[in-house]
């Protein structure tokens, strides 16, 4: 529809305002990440929006090189937390995608597991805190506490609903003719799945995997409860970035926060076409 000029200007003004509100917090964090200690600890009138002397000090700091004697060296660098976040998210995604894709195919093509859709939605319905105690006890029993593989397992379970629902809608959307043609040719059903369906599904699989990865990477509560020292993930580790002299190390937190925030944002924009499908459990498509 053609819009009038006043409306068009209003639209742009409104969108720019929304954009500003959206970006300001993020840009603030970016700005803090590159500020030297004098600037990020400034308050009130001394505040500056952009670093006057941008520096990579904060980034160096979290990886072990302290350049200022106002801050004590950390007893631990950010390297292991980053590794922990990465490993638990990657393997958690693998578990969720593995079980989820297989089950989604089983339901979509063979009608197996009729209870799964409901069961998996219920999984997301309840607050995680409501099941964390049993999980802690189980994990403790299995010796999975404070380990990235223990995290990966629970992540896989917790994001299984998303993997399942996403892949199920993708499978439902895919026409069966090609698979049926292969079946007529004499292919076994399993082979049809592995040799024909899955390769055709590369793009949806990638999108679903990225979606699930973002969710796993973004976890805080579960890691908070299941990791204590060795394998804390990035968000949990960030709490320890404070010193007795200068209090909270905003610069360092901003730097690490930036590192943690960039991958999901980039991935999210890459898969934005499928976000609605993933977030509404396939009820809607874009």
């Amino acid at each position: 529809m053609k819009r009038s000029v006043p409306f068009e200007t209003f639209r742009y003004v409104a969108i720019l305002a929304a954009l500003a509100v959206t970006l300001v917090p993020i840009l603030w964090m970016v700005s803090m990440a590159f500020k030297p200690i004098a600037e990020w600890s400034a308050t009130g009138a001394d505040l500056t929006w952009w670093p006057k002397q941008p520096t990579l000090d904060n980034f160096r700091f979290i990886f072990g090189e302290s350049t200022s004697n106002l801050i004590v060296a950390l007893d631990r660098t950010a390297a292991k937390p980053i590794a922990s976040s990465l490993l638990s998210a990657i393997f958690g995604t693998a578990i969720a995608m593995g079980a989820g894709t297989a089950a989604a195919y089983g339901l979509s093509r063979f009608g197996s597991g009729q209870n799964l859709p409901l069961a998996l939605i219920q999984l997301r319905l309840f607050p995680p805190m409501a099941v964390m105690i049993p999980v802690m006890i189980m994990w403790s029993f299995l010796n999975f506490m404070d380990s990235w593989w223990g995290l990966a397992l629970i992540y896989g379970i917790v994001t299984l609903p998303f993997a399942f629902w996403l892949m199920k809608t993708f499978f439902d959307d895919m026409p069966r003719e090609i698979e049926e043609a292969a079946l007529v040719e004499g292919c076994s059903r399993l082979r049809v799945f592995t040799r024909i369906t899955l390769p055709m599904m590369r793009a949806p699989l990638a999108s679903a995997a990225l979606f699930v990865f973002i969710l796993n990477w973004s976890d805080y509560l579960i890691a908070l409860l299941l990791t204590t020292r060795e394998w804390v993930t990035i968000p949990v580790y960030m709490a320890s970035l404070s010193s007795s002299m200068t209090g909270q190390l905003y610069g360092a937190k901003a730097a690490l926060g930036l590192i943690a925030a960039v991958p999901p944002v980039v991935m999210g924009i890459a898969i934005q076409r499928h976000l609605v499908r993933g977030l509404t459990f396939g009820a809607l498509k874009q």
Binding site: R3, A14, I15, A18, L19, T22, L23, V24, P25, I26, W28, M29, T43, G44, L47, W49, G98, A99, A103, G106, L107, R109, F110, G111, S112, G113, Q114, L116, Q122, L123, L125, F126, P127, P128, M129, V131, I133, P134, I137, G156, R176, L183, G186, R189, I214, S218, Y220, L225, M238, A254, A261, V265, G268, I269, V276, L279, T280, A283, L284, Q286
Partner: protein, 320 residues
């Protein structure tokens, strides 16, 4: 492959073609289907069966990890339904629940209205739309915990929010947001609205675009103005999507934890203690896990009942 095998598969393919998920006539398919869904079934069972039973058990005891005995021996600390009666009388629990409700009643409608407004702005094509759209989605992709640190920094008494308010109002603002009971709650709600409005925007835009353009044109030709078109055609057609969007946000908002906990830790005092924070604190500080199990089960039961009722409503709505 020999001829019999090919024939068998051809027959199977034919019969399979008529079948969707409604039922399987081919035994091989059923077996494969079963095997494919098995891992997921096991994981689901793992996370629902044992936790449920275990919590049922210890919720009827005074057990705590500090009590010196393994959880399986919790029967030694049996207390019947004391935990549940305590829960009913637990003022802190009910306040936490009330606070969660307040947060929900402010945040979800705000996110909905802002998301809807943004979605209507994004309905037509305009230069730069794709770029603006991608940027608008960013907040919901920021790790919630990181958003927590972000807003923690923003709301410091010497921080940018106060700085901005100072320049806008002309006189110096040095409010200690996160130390004031009311303002801390406001700050937390602002953070939630900032982060999740894009989600509403995303879903509602998808719904908006799905409204048949022809019917909107027809309405215009019959003399409807923009507002009338919006209320008589667009909104009714978006009913299902609106319900879905609200349901999703209500469920997630109820569980609010990451951003809030990092910003305020539930404080000052219990000023921002929502239900998840409360449970977390009792679990990690008071360590009375028997009691926590009772809380968890109570919530589970209530949510299940609500979910079942909602599903029934939806099924009825579809038949009508």
């Amino acid at each position: 492959m020999n001829a019999t095998a090919i024939m068998k598969h051809r027959d199977a393919a034919v019969s399979d073609g008529e079948n969707t998920a409604a039922g399987v006539t081919d035994a091989e398919a059923a077996r494969l289907g079963f095997r494919l869904t098995l891992p997921a079934q096991i994981l689901v069972l793992f996370i629902s069966a044992f936790p449920l039973l275990m919590q049922l058990y210890i919720s009827l005891t005074d057990w705590s990890p500090l009590s010196g005995i393994g959880w399986w021996s919790a029967w030694e600390l049996w207390n019947n339904f004391a935990n549940y009666t305590d829960l009913a009388a637990d003022g802190r629990f009910w306040s936490a629940l009330g606070r969660t409700a307040i947060v929900m009643l402010v945040c979800v409608p705000a996110e909905f209205l802002l998301g809807l407004a943004l979605a209507t702005l994004f309905m037509d094509e305009f230069p730069g739309k794709r770029f603006f759209y991608s940027v608008m989605l960013m907040p919901m992709m920021v790790v919630p915990a990181v958003a927590g640190y972000m807003f923690f920094m923003l709301f410091q008494s010497g921080g940018p929010v106060n700085d901005l308010l100072s320049s806008l109002t002309g006189f110096p603002v040095t409010v200690a947001w996160l130390s004031d009971p009311t303002l801390a709650l406001v700050a937390v709600m602002i953070a939630d609205i900032w982060q999740w409005t894009p989600l509403m925007f995303l879903i509602l835009l998808a719904g908006l675009v799905g409204v048949p353009e022809d019917q909107i044109k027809a309405a215009t030709l019959l003399g409807a103005n923009a507002w009338q078109r919006f209320t008589t055609i667009v909104l009714p057609k978006m009913k299902t999507i609106i319900v879905i969007a609200l349901a999703i946000r209500v469920i997630e908002n109820f569980k609010i934890f990451d951003t809030l906990y990092i910003m305020t830790g539930g404080g000052p005092g219990v000023a921002t203690e929502t239900i998840s924070v409360y449970i977390y604190k009792v679990t990690t500080q008071d360590l009375i896990w028997g009691y926590v199990a009772a809380i968890a089960l109570a919530i589970l039961v209530v949510l299940s009942v609500v979910a079942v009722l909602a599903m029934k409503r939806m099924a009825q709505g579809r038949e009508a």
